[in-house]
């Protein structure tokens, strides 16, 4: 089920909230578990059993890891969990990629499995892995209550598109959490802003991307317009989902960590990755990069560590070569910055933002393509390869058509709106206006989002396919 859908907003959510708030504390996690399973089964009836099996496996292995703590068996059970969870992920997500490439490389034709990708498998696999590894490391105690663990893994607000909530961050909240009007109000505000980001901005920008793809009248400027639109679309799509997840979490008493921090104002690519999909970045840092030795190793090993992490980051996003190239592209940029550029960028205040946005635009053009062939053709198009014209009528029209939305999106992607509101709140009249207008603005955003849904302008979240 999608957050940005009428069944979720006006059927599922009211039922869940009523049930959640009328049952006693002891049953709240049970309500969350059941509703999360319904939420997941709505989109993936068959794969709900895979998720239940993952939870059971994680539960048993967590207990065994703790029981044999300090002994070799504990490490064995931890490794078993890694193999089992990554094995399931590999089977469902990557099997056809390996088969296809094996067939191409050897000429031996092996039939593809053609399995449907279980929604959110990349997210919940990383969550359950964080649990068993943290139990092994002694960072957290094994969860004795299977319902609490299952509620954590399947928690519907962040089940299918993150943020990747690590068990250690919510272990306490699973047992004890507080609910208040203040938290709920903050959650509602966050949820509605996220909903508006997704439906009003991301989906509208998605229409521009679709128009670009359907247009036979391509030009260099049209390729750049697409790159900018897609960059903003994926930001509002994914950060909108994260906002909704964090907002719903707050309503339900949870505090999830932030996943985005205005990534497009980054001063370097290194800074960008501290601001974009932060939960994934920190996951790879803590469970891959640091265990491999992190920074405190010889140069050759450092290179290996960075390339491995970014190869895996790219591959995590999808079983296609363009995702791998996308990951390695960042590895190269980060290494260049680490060894040469970072200090220079400190001095180039205006130019560094252009540098970041330029390389990010290219990266998302690679990211958005269906395979490497299309990625190369699109990046080539941005630089006029293939004899395409510099400008076209279609570009001009779409620039006029979406120009204002792009301006709104660019403004909304910076901290300026937040700063404006903060400034207004320092003034007496401004503070009154902000307080008085907040609720009508939220109602208006909900109304507009509902209107867009009722009119059928509907796109699934881009991050669903990861």
């Amino acid at each position: 089920m999608l957050f940005s859908s009428i069944p979720f907003l006006y059927y599922f959510l009211p039922c869940v909230l009523i049930l959640y708030f009328i049952v006693p504390k002891a049953l709240k996690n049970t309500v969350l578990l059941i509703s999360s399973l319904v939420f997941y089964a709505w989109g993936e009836p068959k794969y709900v059993f895979l998720m239940i099996a993952t939870v059971l496996c994680g539960y048993v292995l967590g207990l065994l890891i703790e029981r044999y703590r300090g002994r070799t068996a504990s490490k064995g059970f931890m490794l078993l969990s890694v193999v089992a969870f990554l094995g399931a992920l590999g089977y469902f997500k990557y099997a056809d990629f390996f088969i296809e490439n094996f067939s191409k490389a050897t000429g031996v034709s092996v039939p593809l499995l053609q399995l449907a990708l279980p929604i959110g498998i990349s997210f919940y696999t990383f969550q359950i892995l964080s649990y068993t590894i943290d139990v092994y490391r002694g960072n957290v105690a094994a969860q004795k209550n299977p319902i609490d663990l299952a509620a954590y893994v399947s928690l519907f607000p962040q089940l299918i598109a993150g943020p990747i909530v690590r068990y250690v961050d919510v272990a306490e909240q699973l047992c004890v959490r507080t609910h208040s009007f203040e938290k709920a109000a903050l959650g509602i505000r966050r949820f509605l802003f996220g909903l508006a980001k997704k439906i009003l901005l991301a989906n509208t920008l998605g229409e521009l991307c679709d128009a670009f793809m359907a247009s036979p009248d391509k030009s260099v400027l049209f390729y750049w317009l697409y790159a900018i639109a897609y960059m903003l679309q994926i930001y509002f799509d994914f950060s909108g989902y994260s906002d909704m997840a964090i907002g719903l979490g707050k309503i339900l008493g949870f505090e999830f960590l932030e996943n985005f921090n205005y990534p497009f104002i980054a001063k370097s690519i290194t800074d960008f990755w501290r601001r974009w999909h932060m939960s994934l970045g920190t996951w790879f840092r803590d469970y891959v990069y640091i265990p491999m030795g992190g920074n405190r190793v010889r140069k050759a090993r450092l290179l290996l560590n960075i390339f491995t992490v970014w190869f895996l980051t790219g591959f995590w996003h999808g079983a296609e070569w363009n995702f791998i190239v996308w990951g390695l592209y960042f590895a190269v940029l980060l290494l260049v910055e680490k060894f040469f550029l970072l200090k220079q960028l400190e001095k180039l205040k205006g130019i560094r933002h252009i540098y970041v946005l330029f390389f990010i635009a290219i990266s998302f053009t690679i990211f958005s393509a269906n395979g490497m062939g299309e990625a190369l053709s699109r990046v080539g198009g941005m630089f006029g390869f293939g004899g395409i014209p510099f400008a076209s009528a279609a570009w001009l029209y779409q620039l006029k058509n979406y120009g204002f939305i792009l301006l709104i999106a660019i403004f909304a992607a910076t901290p300026l709106p937040k700063k404006c509101i903060a400034y207004l709140q320092t003034k007496k009249v401004g503070a009154i206006c902000v307080n008085l207008l907040e609720i009508p603005v939220l109602v208006c955003l909900l109304l507009a989002a509902t209107a867009f849904l009722a009119d059928g302008s509907f796109n699934p979240f881009l991050y669903f396919r990861f």
């Binding site: 120009g403 609720i439 009722a454």
Partner: protein, 369 residues
Amino acid sequence: MKKIKNTVSVVLFAAILLGVSAACLLKPADAFSDAERRALAQMPEWSAQSVINGEFMEGFESYSADQFPARDALRSFKAWWTNTVFQKKDNNGLFIAEGHISKLDEPENEEMLAHAAERFNFLYESYLKETDAKLYLTIVPDKNYYLAEKNGYPALNYPTFIEKVQEKTEYLQYIPVTDLLSADDYYTTDTHWKQENITDVAKHLLDTMGVPTQKGDYTVNRLEKPFYGVYTGQLARKTKPDTIAYLTSDTLDACTVTYYDTGKPVVGELYNMEKAGGKDPYEMFLSGSAPLLTIENPSVTEKRELVLFRDSFGSSIAPLLAEGYSKITVVDIRYIQSSFVGNFVDFDSCEDVLFLYSTSLLNNSLALR
């Protein structure tokens, strides 16, 4: 203040969520959307099978959007938001220019064009090649031809498009009509042309086909019911309606129309007044979608027959072409297989064959069978 605001936020959000949810559950399902002219999704049937294979959920998604309370008002609000807040030039692919609602042109679709040409070629090879009939083609441009580029909207390259159709149908003599038309010859809220404005087009076609025409003294009759064309609902914005006018004359009044929808001939009218009061009043012209019909004109005493292959633009011009023929057979291969046409139409007895199609259909010709 903060406390009050938080409480109001929570209570209001809960009230909206529960209120709308209750309205969704209690509202009886509508069968049809007049604005969008389409059947609305109904509650899907629940079964273990439909849940497991996801059909129920898919059906429910459509049902919940289609049956949402005050949906038409919300669609209008969305259109307002798109055009006013977002300053978009179009909504749902439709725009307003010079008082007309028009639909953005689809990019030229080579496959569709080839499909249309292949269907025409099939008709030519199967029925027309061996006859003495003279074969003609006319292409009705979409009103975008007159509106889009001028108003800054992207448009199909109409001259190239028409040229391509001509190249693929060299056995047909092309009769151009683009110079005889203007945006005002089309309804402002609909895709079609106005019958009262195309008498010159009909005369030009008849002249080119060498058919002697009469004076064409028509009486213009107007329907009282306002005509909200197909684009009004799609745009979801209230616009000034059109009025449908239809032409009558002594000659047209004497014509007999026979429909063959069910295989058996049924005598009908040129202008179907029941349909004029229906959901799409444009269907009053030759009763709208009809696979096969004939118009017999007793005023033309000398035998002269025309076979007209057409789309919906043909509905309003066919009566005007009837002025010059003793009999017109009107065929719409969207509703009858091309391979069956020979069972019902005698091509040996006709003098002329005219293919009359709009650019929008030729560029999206999948319906041609």
